[in-house]
């Protein structure tokens, strides 16, 4: 086959077909076009201000590595004046995070950015290995997600930084849209699509500058710039609901590549139509949602258990937390957004501090502490009781006492 010329420069050999428009580009043009589109997203959404200090949530994976590389390039090219640093979370999963943290350490040198690593062990007294040993693999992603969100916030707070960017890409957003569509969760769908999530208070702002970037192009960008990234599969991640949504997205992309951005666009349009009653009634789950949807590096990999246990957990979390002021209003049409702010003044939760850990929370006890409570309560107990679950604690203790008595009687 004769080489195809680049659509852009008409000279060099095309090596890439862009999923969004099927344009055939050479390596050099592709890199510039990719960077320029991220730049346009940043400018179009007023994502940063000059001199802003920004922490890049870095996992060592392709998305966060590309994000760091592109932000560094754009910061220099367009003079954003950003003060960039890398923020990594060590979940404490042996054989998974250790290698990727080594990658992040190399990235810190390559991009000349300071790096902060924060571990679940030091933050919560529980590594994910220990959590899984306690509760099993099922449902552990909930813990990891809640812990990670707080960990990123705490890391940013520690560094005195108010803005954390994550490497979520268009495929991730499309997956989230599909998942929330499939479980009829419009409020969550609406939050998942917005580029910025932040609370009304002085909390830390989150954003995803790669929201419109195809995963395919992110991988190709990393390949053609020969970026140093690490790929792995979380050893605890079950391929459940998100896994299916992911497969569906990839299958659709194969048949019709523009599907992914179209789903993102549909998600945004639907978000704009979500009536405020829906957002405010029933489930209130601002930061819970964010914790789950914003799961940093392994977000795209984490499956979910679709069982009742998980639903119960989500429900409990949802009831405990109400912070929808965080992330809805951005995409709403004018008329509605006025309405929103009025309602919010009335309904707004006062943001206080968790009584346990002092972390910013709209509840007396923050979600992480709630989860920790459950973990700590079970810590000294035997494996038998752990597997029974919390509701059955009473009866299983009784059962154990009965067994003890039986043994005594027997002897």
């Amino acid at each position: 086959m004769a080489p195809t010329a680049c659509f852009n420069c008409k000279e060099a050999r095309a090596v890439i077909i862009r999923p969004k428009n099927r344009h055939k580009l050479c390596r050099a043009c592709f890199l510039v076009v990719f960077e320029t589109e991220v730049h346009e997203t940043i400018i179009g959404t007023n994502l940063f201000y000059p001199g802003e200090r920004v922490a890049i949530g870095a996992s060592g994976g392709k998305d966060s590595t590309v994000l760091a590389a592109v932000l560094k390039t754009l910061n220099e090219r367009y003079g954003y004046g950003l003060d960039l640093c890398l923020l990594s979370i060590d979940e404490g999963i042996r054989g998974y995070r250790d290698d990727s943290l080594e990658t992040v350490k190399r990235n810190a040198v390559q991009y000349d950015m300071p790096l902060e690593i924060l571990g679940y062990g030091e933050l919560y007294g529980w590594t994910m290995d220990q959590v899984v040993a306690q509760i099993g693999k099922k449902g552990n992603c909930t813990y990891c997600g809640v812990f990670r969100r707080q960990a990123l916030d705490r890391g940013a707070a520690k560094l005195g930084i108010k803005h954390v960017v994550t490497g979520h890409n268009a495929d991730d957003v499309a997956e989230t849209v599909m998942m929330n569509l499939l479980r009829a969760d419009l409020p969550r769908l609406s939050r998942g699509t917005s580029i910025v999530t932040e609370s009304g208070a002085s909390d830390i702002k989150r954003s995803k500058p790669l929201k419109y970037a195809y995963e395919k192009e992110i991988v190709l960008y990393a390949h053609h710039r020969q970026l140093d990234y690490f790929s792995t599969e979380c050893i605890y991640s079950p391929e459940a609901f998100r896994g299916s949504a992911r497969t569906l997205i990839k299958d659709l992309e194969k048949i019709r590549p523009s599907s992914i951005l179209d789903i993102v666009k549909s998600g945004e349009d639907m978000a704009a139509l979500v009536p405020q009653e829906v957002n405010q009634g029933g489930r209130k789950c601002g930061s819970t949602v964010a914790a789950e949807d914003d799961v940093g590096g392994c977000g795209s990999q984490n499956g979910r258990t679709s069982g009742g246990e998980m639903a119960a957990m989500e429900k409990e979390l949802a009831e405990n937390e109400s912070a929808e002021s965080r992330e809805t209003e951005i995409r709403l049409p004018k008329g509605q957004s006025l309405n929103v702010s009025q309602q919010k003044v009335i309904k707004k939760q006062t943001l206080g501090h968790c009584e346990r850990c002092g972390y910013l929370s709209s509840q007396r006890i923050c979600k992480a502490c709630n989860l920790l409570d459950g973990l700590n309560r079970n810590r000294p107990k035997t494996a038998i009781e752990v597997s029974v679950g919390m509701e059955d604690e009473e009866s299983s203790s009784t059962l154990m006492r009965q067994m003890e008595r039986t043994q005594l009687t027997n002897s």
Partner: protein, 113 residues
């Protein structure tokens, strides 16, 4: 390193196959593999990518989960194929006829960080 001429007489084509983005985990955690293929397939036509795919599964893949790489006879959606750094769609996908010294890269987009 494997040398798989399958005992066929006649000329062979040496190529390099790379697995990245997490795919290397399926291939003995080795990224680069030197492979030598017969110049012609059983039907007498020049060896192409369609021949290479099952060859890799049978000869290089160490993981049992074949479907992680090949699904329904084709490369699993989400895995990119680059022929000498170009998207294989630009080169005719499975019909591309391998040339000596070709570099074929399989990159997974499905793995996380």
């Amino acid at each position: 390193m494997s040398d798989g001429t399958k005992g066929a007489a006649g000329p062979s084509i040496p190529i390099t196959v790379e697995f990245t983005g997490g795919l290397e985990l399926l291939f003995g955690n080795e990224r680069k593999h030197k492979v030598s293929l017969p110049a012609c397939m059983d039907d007498g036509n020049p060896t192409n990518i369609a021949y290479l795919l099952p060859y890799l599964v049978d000869n290089l893949m160490q993981d049992q989960r074949k479907e992680m790489f090949i699904m329904e006879g084709n490369v699993r959606p989400g895995i990119l194929v680059l022929i000498n750094d170009a998207d294989w769609e630009l080169e005719g996908e499975e019909t591309y006829e391998l040339q000596p010294g070709d570099n074929i890269v399989f990159v997974s987009t499905l793995h996380g960080g």
